[in-house]
C-alpha cells in the first residue's frame, strides 16, 4: 500500500520559470543593483555568482492587515512570565524596531529590501543586455555549420579500409592464447622429428604413427582456431561532428616598458578580461594571444604578460608586426574573427607612430572585426587631455585611423570606474554606431 518514489533524479529547476518571471518583474531594481555591484567590485570577479540586494518596490505583495498600533485595543498572550503580576504596567517599546518579534512579525511583509543570489549568467545577461557585438561581419558565421569526421572509438563493423590493426591483432592474440592454438614452430619441430625418424621407418614405426597422429591433430586445431577470426576484427569508427562555426581570436597588445606601472597594467587587464568575457558570450571558441612589447615584441603567456617587466625603449609597431605574423601563421581570416585590443600609455619612439598608422590602414584593419586602442593615463593627464584633439603622438596618429575605419576605436581611461562606460561606448548597439 505504500509507495516509495525516488525523485532525486527528476529534473531540477522546477521553479526556473518562476525565477525568470521574478527577474523580469523586478527588472528595474535588479538592473540598478547589478550595475552598482559591478562598479564596486573588481572585474575579475565578474565570473562569479553574486549577491544582489534589491528593494521590494515593484515586487510587493500587499494584503489587508490590521494595525493595532494605529487604534483600538487588543489582548495578547506571551510565554515566560518572570516577575509580572496582574495590574503591572509595562512600557511599550518605541515604535519602529521594538515592536518586531511580537505578533507583528507573524504577518509583516518583511523589510523593504531583500537579498538573493544571482548566477553569473543572469548577471552577465543584464550587463550585456543592450550591447551588441559591433559590425558583426560574419566571415565565418555561416548558417549551415561545417562538419568534420572525428574519431569516435572502435566498432566491430566497418569497411576494410578503416580496420584497426593493433586492436585486431591484440584480440586475435588473446583468443589464440586462450584456445591454445598450436604454434607453427611446434608443428615444424615435430615434422622435423618425424622426418628424422622416417630415415629408419622400420625401427620407429610406432613412434612415427604417434607423431603423425599428433601432427595431424595439431594441424587441424590450427585450422579451426584461426590466426585471425572475424570476431577479432575491429574498425575505427568516425562520426560527423559540427565544427564551431564561430570562433574568434583576441590579440592583446601591451606596452610593458618601464613607463607602464602596476596600475596601468591592472587597468589594461580589466579591460582585456571584459573584452574576453564579451567575446566568449558571442563565439563558441575564443583564443587569446598575448603580445607584449618594448622595443621588440614577443608572444607570451598570461602570467608573463601581466606580471613581468622588461626594460627597453618603446616601439609599438613591433607588436603590430608580431600580431600580423601570428595571424598569418595560425588564424586565417576565413576561419577566425579577429579582435585586437591594445593598451599603452601613449608613448612610442618618435616616427614610429606613422609606421603604425600605415600598418593599421594597409594590413591590420582589413583583417580585424574590431580594434580597440586604450590609452591609460593618470588622473592629472586625464584633465590635461580633456579634449579628444590633444594628446601624445600615438593618440593623435591613431585618431586619423579612427576617421577612416568605423571599427577602430580609441579611448582613454584613468581609473577602474572609467572602464565600464568606455566598454559600453565601444560596443554600443549597432544602430547607433
Amino acid at each position: 500500500m505504500t509507495h516509495f518514489i525516488d525523485r532525486r533524479l527528476n529534473p531540477k529547476g522546477k521553479s526556473l520559470g518562476n525565477r525568470q518571471r521574478f527577474l523580469r518583474r523586478a527588472r528595474t531594481q535588479i538592473r540598478e543593483a547589478v550595475q552598482k555591484s559591478l562598479k564596486d567590485t573588481s572585474v575579475a570577479d565578474i565570473e562569479k555568482d553574486r549577491k544582489i540586494r534589491i528593494s521590494t518596490k515593484g515586487t510587493k505583495e500587499p494584503r489587508f492587515r490590521l494595525d493595532p498600533k494605529a487604534g483600538g485595543e487588543h489582548d495578547f498572550v506571551l510565554p515566560g512570565n518572570k516577575q509580572f503580576t496582574p495590574g503591572d504596567e509595562i512600557k511599550k517599546p518605541p515604535s519602529g524596531d521594538g515592536g518586531r518579534g511580537k505578533e507583528a512579525a507573524d504577518f509583516a511583509e518583511g523589510d523593504d529590501e531583500f537579498e538573493f543570489t544571482m548566477t553569473q549568467e543572469e548577471v552577465l545577461d543584464i550587463f550585456f543586455e543592450d550591447l551588441e557585438l559591433p559590425n558583426l561581419v560574419r566571415t565565418t558565421l555561416k548558417d549551415t555549420p561545417n562538419k568534420v569526421w572525428k574519431r569516435a572509438g572502435i566498432t566491430t563493423a566497418g569497411s576494410p579500409t578503416q580496420i584497426n590493426l593493433i586492436r585486431t591483432m591484440r584480440n586475435a592474440q588473446g583468443r589464440r592464447l586462450a584456445l591454445h592454438r598450436p604454434k607453427l614452430k611446434d608443428v615444424e619441430a615435430l615434422q622435423a622429428e618425424l622426418d628424422a625418424l622416417e630415415q629408419e621407418p622400420e625401427i620407429n614405426r610406432e613412434k612415427i604413427a604417434a607423431l603423425k597422429e599428433q601432427i595431424a591433430r595439431l594441424t587441424s586445431k590450427r585450422k579451426w582456431v584461426g590466426f585471425i577470426d572475424p570476431v577479432d576484427v575491429r574498425f575505427n569508427s568516425y562520426t560527423e561532428q559540427p565544427v564551431p562555426t564561430s570562433q574568434a581570436v583576441m590579440f592583446c597588445l601591451m606596452d610593458v616598458s618601464g613607463s607602464m606601472g602596476e596600475r596601468e597594467k591592472d587597468l589594461a587587464k580589466r579591460f582585456y578580461m571584459l573584452l574576453h568575457l564579451f567575446l566568449k558570450r558571442r563565439y563558441k571558441r575564443v583564443d587569446i594571444v598575448f603580445i607584449r612589447h618594448t622595443h621588440d615584441a614577443q608572444e607570451v603567456d598570461e602570467q608573463e604578460f601581466f606580471y613581468s617587466r622588461q626594460s627597453g625603449g618603446t616601439i609599438v609597431s613591433t607588436a603590430l608586426d608580431k600580431m600580423l605574423e601570428i595571424q598569418k601563421e595560425r588564424y586565417a581570416t576565413a576561419d577566425w574573427n579577429i579582435y585586437a585590443a591594445q593598451a599603452s600609455d601613449g608613448y612610442t619612439q618618435s616616427g614610429d607612430a606613422r609606421r603604425c598608422v600605415e600598418m593599421l590602414n594597409n594590413d591590420i584593419m582589413p583583417l580585424c572585426q574590431y580594434y580597440a586602442y586604450i590609452e591609460i593615463l593618470d588622473e592629472r593627464e586625464m584633465e590635461v587631455f580633456a579634449s579628444e584633439e590633444s594628446g601624445a603622438e600615438l593618440w593623435r596618429a591613431y585618431r586619423t585611423v579612427a576617421d577612416g575605419w568605423p571599427n577602430f576605436a580609441t579611448k582613454r581611461i584613468s581609473k577602474p570606474a572609467d572602464i565600464f562606460p568606455v566598454f559600453r561606448e565601444l560596443f554600443k548597439k549597432a544602430e547607433t554606431a
Partner: protein, 495 residues
C-alpha cells in the same frame, strides 16, 4: 536475535521500507490511527527548495511571487540562516510526504512517523479538512490550474495573466468562505464548463464584434450549464468572500479572468483549514512521532544512538523561547500542540486533584488514545485550547496576558498563570488563534451596478483596530483593477 531496524546513519530503500512497516504497525495498532494511503518520495535539497516556493504543493501554476520566495529562501539557506524543513507533507490522497535525501536514517524514521502518520491522520480525520478540502481532487485540480494559467499566458500574454494573479493574490485572505460551505471544485466539471464556453464562443463568433473598441465584449455571456453557483442576477449582500464576489459580479472581467480568480479562490479555501489548525496539526504530528519513536526504542527496534539523535532533534523542534528572548518569534505551534497533547495523556492516566476538577470528563479514564483522537477529529486551534489547556501547562509555559490600548504608552498585565487568571489567560490565548478575529473582517457592502458602478467594501473593526494604511491603499488598487470601477472602503466599529 536483534530486532534493530537499522544501526547506521546511512539509509537505503530496503531499510526505509522495513522501518515504515514497523512504524505503520505501531501507528495503526498501538495508536489506532486512521490514515490515507502513503506515498513517500525522496527528494534533494534543491527540490525541497522548489517545493517550498510553490506553497509546498507538488504542482503549481507559474507566478513571479513563487520565484521571489524561492530566491529569498535559497539565499537564507545558503547563508545558513535557516535549515531546510526535514519534510513536507501534502493533504492529498494518497498522502504525499517528501523526505530529504540528506537526512540520516533516524531522521527518516522520525519524518515518516511525523508526516506519513501524524499529519496524515490529522488530514484525514479533522472535521475542517473533511468538510472543506477535497484530498482526492486537489492534485487533479492543481494540474488543471497549471495548465489553464499556462494556456492563458499563451493566449493573452504573460503581463495580462500576471496582472490578474497579482490582484487575486492580494485578496487571497478575503477569498474564503468562513461560514458557508463553498461549492466543491471538480476538475471534470470545470473542464466541461470550459468546453461549453469555448464552443459557445465559436458558435456565436461574429465578425462585427471585432470592430468594437478594445475592452467591450459581446453582450451575451456564456450559457450557464450549472446554476448552483453561477451568476443568477441577484447579488447576495453582504458577501465576505470578495474574490468570489468579483468573480461572479465584476462588470469588467473576461471569462478567463474569472476562471483565474476562481483558481486562486479555491486554493485559498484549500489552505484555510491549515491556517486554523497550526497548533493541532503540528502538535498531533509531533505527539505521534514522539510516541512512535519511543515505542520503537522500547521494543528494541532502534538503538540508544538513534534515540538520542531523535531526542536532540525533537527537543529543538518543540522548544519555546520566552517572550524576552531574542529567539522569540511568537508561540511555537509545535511546542504548544505537543505540550497540550502530552498533557492530555497525563491527565487521562495520572490526574491530580486539580485536573479532576478542571477536566472531569476524562481525567483518569485511562483512554488517552480515545480522548486525543476525539480532539484531533473535532476541534480547531481555538476550540482545542479553550477546552483542553490545563492550569499545569499554563504554569509550565508561564503564560501571561497583556492588554494593549493604542493610545496608551504602557501595556497592562491583565492576567497571569495563577488561580484567578487561568480562565482568562486560556480564553485570551484561544482567541489569539481565532482566525476570524485576527484577520480583518472585510465584506462587500454594496455595488451600484446600474449607476456609477461604485463598489463599497466595509471593514467591521474588531475592538477598534483599523487596517494598516499603506497596504490598505495598495490592496484597494488591486480591487479596483478587478472591479474596473471606483472602489470605496469604509471602516466601522462592529461592537
Amino acid at each position: 536475535m536483534s530486532n534493530l531496524l537499522f544501526s547506521e546513519a546511512e539509509w537505503d530503500f530496503a531499510t526505509l521500507d522495513r522501518t515504515l512497516k514497523a512504524i505503520e504497525e505501531i501507528a495503526l495498532k498501538d495508536l489506532k490511527l486512521d490514515v490515507y494511503p502513503n506515498q513517500i518520495e525522496v527528494i534533494s535539497s534543491e527540490q525541497m527548495l522548489d517545493a517550498y516556493s510553490s506553497l509546498a504543493m507538488p504542482l503549481m501554476y507559474n507566478h513571479w511571487s513563487f520565484g521571489k520566495l524561492f530566491a529569498r529562501e535559497e539565499a537564507m539557506y545558503r547563508a545558513g540562516y535557516s535549515a531546510l524543513a526535514y519534510e513536507i507533507v501534502i493533504n492529498s490522497s494518497p498522502c504525499i510526504s517528501y523526505l530529504l535525501e540528506e537526512n540520516t536514517m533516524t531522521m527518516q524514521a522520525l519524518v515518516m512517523a511525523h508526516a506519513a502518520f501524524g499529519h496524515n491522520h490529522f488530514f484525514k480525520n479533522n472535521y475542517l479538512f473533511r468538510q472543506w478540502t477535497n484530498a482526492e481532487g486537489i492534485l487533479d485540480y492543481l494540474a488543471f490550474a497549471k495548465k489553464y494559467v499556462a494556456a492563458c499566458e499563451e493566449k493573452y500574454g504573460r503581463d495580462e495573466v500576471e496582472a490578474v494573479l497579482d490582484s487575486a493574490h492580494a485578496l487571497m485572505d478575503q477569498g474564503v468562505f468562513r461560514y458557508r460551505r463553498p461549492p466543491r471544485p471538480s476538475r471534470e466539471r470545470t473542464l466541461e464548463k470550459l468546453r461549453a464556453r469555448a464552443q459557445y464562443e465559436e458558435e456565436s463568433y461574429n465578425e462585427l464584434w471585432r470592430t468594437l473598441p478594445a475592452g467591450i465584449e459581446p453582450p451575451a455571456t456564456a450559457p450557464t450549464i450549472d446554476t448552483e453557483d453561477d451568476y443568477t442576477g441577484d447579488m447576495k449582500l453582504p458577501e465576505e468572500n470578495i474574490l468570489y464576489f468579483l468573480e461572479k459580479h465584476s462588470p469588467s472581467l473576461k471569462a478567463w479572468q474569472r476562471e483565474t480568480l476562481r483558481i486562486v479562490r479555491n486554493l485559498a479555501q484549500y489552505f484555510y483549514p491549515q491556517k486554523q489548525t497550526k497548533v493541532m496539526n503540528e502538535g498531533c504530528a509531533s505527539f505521534v512521532h514522539h510516541a512512535i519513536m519511543n515505542l520503537l526504542y522500547d521494543r528494541g527496534m532502534i538503538n540508544e544512538g538513534s534515540l538520542l539523535e531523535f531526542m536532540h532533534s525533537h527537543t529543538s523542534v518543540v522548544f519555546q523561547p520566552e517572550f524576552d528572548d531574542r529567539r522569540y518569534y511568537g508561540i511555537n505551534p509545535y511546542a504548544l500542540g505537543f505540550g497540550m497533547m502530552t498533557d492530555i495523556k497525563r491527565i487521562a492516566m495520572e490526574p491530580t486533584a486539580e485536573d479532576r476538577e478542571w477536566f472531569p470528563a476524562f481525567a483518569g479514564n485511562g483512554d488517552w488514545v480515545g480522548v486525543l483522537k476525539d480532539a484531533w477529529a473535532n476541534y480547531r486551534d481555538e476550540s482545542f485550547i479553550e477546552q483542553f489547556l490545563s492550569p499545569k501547562l499554563m504554569r509550565d509555559f508561564r503564560f501571561f496576558s497583556l492588554f494593549d490600548k493604542s493610545d496608551e504608552s504602557t501595556y497592562k498585565v491583565s492576567a497571569i498563570h495563577d488561580e484567578t487568571g487561568y480562565r482568562r489567560v486560556r480564553q485570551l490565548l484561544a482567541r489569539q488563534y481565532d482566525v476570524s478575529l485576527n484577520e480583518p473582517n472585510i465584506q462587500v457592502k454594496s455595488a451600484d451596478l446600474k449607476g456609477n458602478r461604485r463598489l463599497i467594501l466595509e471593514h467591521k473593526m474588531h475592538r477598534g483596530v483599523p487596517l494598516d494604511g499603506k497596504t490598505r491603499e495598495l490592496v484597494l488598487a488591486h480591487v479596483e483593477r478587478l472591479w474596473g470601477h471606483d472602489v470605496g472602503l469604509s471602516e466601522i466599529d462592529a461592537d
